[in-house]
Symmetry: C2
Subunit: 100 residues, 2 copies
């Protein structure tokens, strides 16, 4: 499995709009076992995204899906930056959709 | 919802043992929507744990479950520390077991 943890900083006041853009992209992404979007409790413009994929290849391929490309197009102008990005190797747990 | 992201550092060489202890605790935890354990790619003793609960209360209550107490007892002597801990407010995504 392939995991990503990271924080996305929206342009000031644009977190809700960024959230909508991201939510629009996560309908069906092949190989996506978990994708959680969360608000940062301290930073009013920050979102945490934690992802689990069956492989790094599935993650990479998702970036070419029409829904994801559309979301990236909408989100890009309202993203101020990224930080705390970590790649991980998930090994198990609860809530991994269809994981074996 | 209530979210936690954090890194656990095992005593040197004890990551696999810590992993087994944690895995033993996550059978059925009421209110747990997601609980993913992942290896850090850089630090040979570090594990990432990302959690989503229906509420902070469910998370707190889980710490009293017999399986979780047993895991904590096993894990405590082989945990060297914690870092990168963040509390979040999850708002949606893929792989949230039974989330409404």
């Amino acid at each position: 499995m392939y995991g990503l943890i990271g924080r996305m900083i929206a342009a000031p006041g644009k977190r809700d709009e960024l959230l909508s853009a991201l939510n629009g992209s996560i309908g069906h992404m092949p190989g996506c076992l978990s994708y959680v979007i969360a608000l940062d409790r301290e930073h009013p413009d920050a979102l945490w995204v934690t992802e689990v994929w069956d492989s790094a290849e599935s993650h990479k391929a998702s970036l070419s899906l029409p829904e994801v490309r559309a979301a990236i197009t909408k989100a890009r102008p309202i993203i101020a930056g990224f930080d705390n990005r970590v790649e991980t190797i998930p090994v198990g747990g609860v809530g991994l959709a269809g994981a074996k």
